[in-house]
Symmetry: C2
Subunit: 318 residues, 2 copies
């Protein structure tokens, strides 16, 4: 059929994740004044056979940085929300509508790159870090505001739906994987800055805002990664070649935003055969040195779904 109207350009965005001193960090492009952005660039179909090869190419150029593990997340095509709408600056396209494909990439290589910096992902999602305590803002800010959001529903039926969503997202029984659901709810309830920006207004909100729909992509990335931890040995993409079991646990905790029970965590790791000891030991400032381990590639052959089933939240013994 005709092509003029059906033509769009494709933007590729990547949430490039690493873990550094017990914080999950994401690579952002921080321009003067404007919001943080995920590295993104156009897909050039003339020069790339696949979307992923296009991604690797320009991420390499833009950040001088090789991607390791990558995974496609989602393709967003919304107009008017999260994406530069008609009247906006629209600087990423020559007028054509942009559809953005989000990717998750994991790396342990933490090189510097001009114009980019690593930032802890909990800057963007402060309500997602439950490692120390249930974040206070949930009770002080979020729940009251969501209560109002429920009350302001146009009718009783809509209110009931909203109530259900609030309960699933922030009610008892924290499900650490529902990162995207929670962000979407906060968006709709007008609790994040993007909501106002997309509506052409301005207003403050929770956490640090990002450009376009990038915070939504990041939320998708976190959710996906938190889920995948449980049945695929993806953490190891983020670890140094050798690490102590506690370092491994801290990395998992950082990503999941939860504390785990140490003994059970070790039991799990051991039973799954995920790691093998190198003979070496760590040299801590003080305290008993721990054995260094490495990932046992063999599991991939042996186990159908090797991963760290989590659960095992910590009790008293940390």
């Amino acid at each position: 059929m005709s092509s003029k109207e059906t033509v769009v350009s494709i933007g590729l965005s990547a949430a490039i994740v690493a873990v550094e001193s017990e914080q999950p960090v994401v690579l952002v492009v921080a321009h003067d004044g404007s919001d943080d952005a995920l590295p993104f660039g156009p897909f050039d179909p003339a020069h790339h056979r696949t979307l992923e090869s296009g991604l690797r190419k320009w991420v390499g150029e833009q950040t001088r940085f090789d991607l390791g593990y990558t995974e496609q997340l989602y393709t967003f095509g919304d107009k008017g929300r999260h994406t530069p709408a008609g009247g906006d600056k629209g600087r990423q396209s020559g007028g054509a509508r942009v559809v953005s494909v989000g990717y998750l990439a994991l790396t342990r290589r933490v090189k510097e790159a001009p114009e980019t910096q690593w930032r802890g992902w909990y800057h963007y999602f402060p309500w997602e870090d439950w490692r120390d305590t249930r974040p206070a803002m949930i009770d002080s800010v979020i729940l009251p505001a969501l209560k109002k959001f429920v009350k302001d529903a146009p009718n009783a039926e809509a209110a009931e739906l909203r109530r259900e969503r609030v309960n699933v997202c922030f009610g008892e029984g924290w499900d650490e994987e529902r990162v995207l659901e929670r962000y979407e709810l906060l968006y709709e309830a007008g609790l994040v800055e993007e909501f106002y920006r997309d509506g052409g207004k301005s207003g403050a909100g929770l956490g640090t805002a990002m450009l376009f729909d990038h915070r939504r992509i990041l939320a998708t990335a976190i959710a996906r990664l938190r889920g995948k931890l449980k049945y695929r040995p993806v953490v190891f993409e983020l670890m140094a070649p050798a690490f102590t079991l506690l370092e491994l646990q801290r990395a998992v905790e950082a990503l999941a935003g939860l504390r785990l029970h140490k003994q059970n965590f070790r039991r799990l790791v051991a039973e799954q055969g995920l790691v093998e000891g190198t003979g070496k030991f760590s040299a801590p400032a003080r305290g008993r040195p721990a054995e260094m381990f490495r990932f046992r590639r063999g599991v991939l052959r042996e186990r159908p779904a090797p991963g760290l089933r989590l659960g095992s939240r910590r009790g008293k013994t940390s």
Copy 2:
């Protein structure tokens, strides 16, 4: 930047799934002579706010058919594989490269539509149906051919990688979710027709071939659905409003391609509080009537991940 080269058109494809007399079926467009295709159409950014609304629109037009539950699967942009390459007929685009976004849609409404028909998905993936027995073709055709595929690897390292993949996909311990991995392996090993077609040659292969990359999209859909069954109550999208527990079990079995243990299945359904009895009973040709149940929407509020964890393969007692 410039736009001419970065411009593509977007094709939306949908694997629309239903269950009919214990068979999972998918809606295909079957043209004269050519391969079966998933319903697909272009995304028109001028008229649709989101990709999904575009999908609903033309699926409605093309199949006179309302989609219920939908879920985005994956965005494929490969050139030369699964997609009309440069030299091909390329009839879906006006020259621009096509990127295809695949969707999964579930429905219980089985209306007729011109030019389309419902076909059992195991026509396309005969090796995926383990309900009666382990499909004979695995031992008689697939494994011997894959053995050869391993032997033909360019070097020892590649051979080891191939061996691992073969083992994960078809070795002991069938993981019903690895539908896509298996299809990709068979593709690379030259065991499906698409492999030859994409190479410009012709050759026979296992299962029924589909147009372009549609079989890959369908494989993705099946994998996703099989996974989702376990932690979201998606089966109910495919059931009539009221059903017997055995009907429910048969539907799950059809989708998963496995037999389940009846008593344990019921125990699970009951414990999870997924259904509630209507007072009514089925009227079978013979045999004891079973109570009719309906989906209990309440679980969505109560349980974090309500689903049918499967496992519980059948033993003697079917």
